[in-house]
Symmetry: C2
Subunit: 191 residues, 2 copies
């Protein structure tokens, strides 16, 4: 996506430890038009997989994923990071948080995932793959079918794609960062 590439290159700030700050349009302030275009792009990449639900992780996955859910015409589930008193039977995984430190929980109520569901996982970043691996584990534990994994930005140098190959589903990134440091960000030509 050309527009996404341009926004990353003009507004992204590398702040060390493999963290890219994109707070101006994705992770804190959100450009709704860019989210909408991403949603359509995810539909183009995954509509043949015929998902019936989309699963993402709070917080930053929600904005792009809810627009994608509208493009697919299916519900979105966002895994919570804190359990609500409205939740009874839940699936839980623990993952490390690179931007907040420590471990965080991913929590999905059992009532919204079942063996009839065909689930597309969408998230903002693919780095080490820990978050998406946890979401995929939840999908499989629920007996649902994982049909694809899509991310806004893949940081290909952190190995996440390799960690997710075991799920045997298509993995697509709207943009791929092949290298970044204090002097700049290098994107894959093809994305």
């Amino acid at each position: 996506m050309r527009e996404l590439r341009e926004r990353i290159l003009s507004e992204g700030q590398y702040i060390g430890n493999n963290i890219l700050k994109l707070d101006s349009f994705l992770n804190h302030q959100v450009d709704p038009f860019l989210m909408s275009k991403m949603g359509i792009e995810f539909w183009r990449l995954f509509h043949n997989a015929e998902p019936t639900k989309i699963l993402t992780a709070a917080v930053s996955g929600i904005a792009p994923a809810v627009h994608a859910a509208a493009s697919f015409g299916v519900p979105l589930i966002f895994a919570r990071k804190a359990r609500s008193i409205t939740q009874r039977d839940v699936y839980v995984r623990y993952i490390p948080s690179p931007t907040k430190g420590g471990d965080v929980q991913l929590i999905v109520s059992k009532e919204f995932l079942c063996n009839h569901n065909r689930v597309l996982i969408l998230d903002d970043f693919l780095a080490t793959g820990k978050t998406i691996e946890a979401l995929a584990d939840i999908v499989l534990e629920a007996g649902a079918t994982l049909v694809g994994i899509g991310v806004v930005i893949e940081k290909s140098f952190q190995g996440g794609r390799d960690a997710l190959q075991k799920f045997g589903v298509p993995i697509h990134a709207l943009t791929t960062i092949v290298h970044m440091n204090d002097t700049g960000i290098v994107l894959d030509n093809g994305s």
Copy 2:
């Protein structure tokens, strides 16, 4: 909004302590079409206020607010509940969390709010008004202009509207619950 009323009455579960569980279409699983219709309805109610930014609180405000942001054609900022290492100078408020217990933080980076902004606050619920009051305080501390407050559901028996009158801006709810307990949910006829 008739569709919202119907969904609340058919899927809402009262779980005690003034908490309404709407996890099937708003607070955990999300119906993207309903979010889109809500976004248009917020535009109808507030376009005369000419907001230039929308502010909401993570997590449940994001899905309706990002669709509203698309309707208005303006950026959305979601206040985080945990500080990210990407954030430097921030506005912080502490509010009680009725669904998770204890206090939670609301954190907005200073770089995205300034005295040129006309801010519309949107959130999922208006109950006691503590969350929205904290967001409005942040808007004023930033020197920005608060132009309106919109919520998906107002629980009118919890006094939040009275607590927010001091800000002197239009307050609109897409639906108003006037009473709820174990035997049922009563909505305002007008909403």
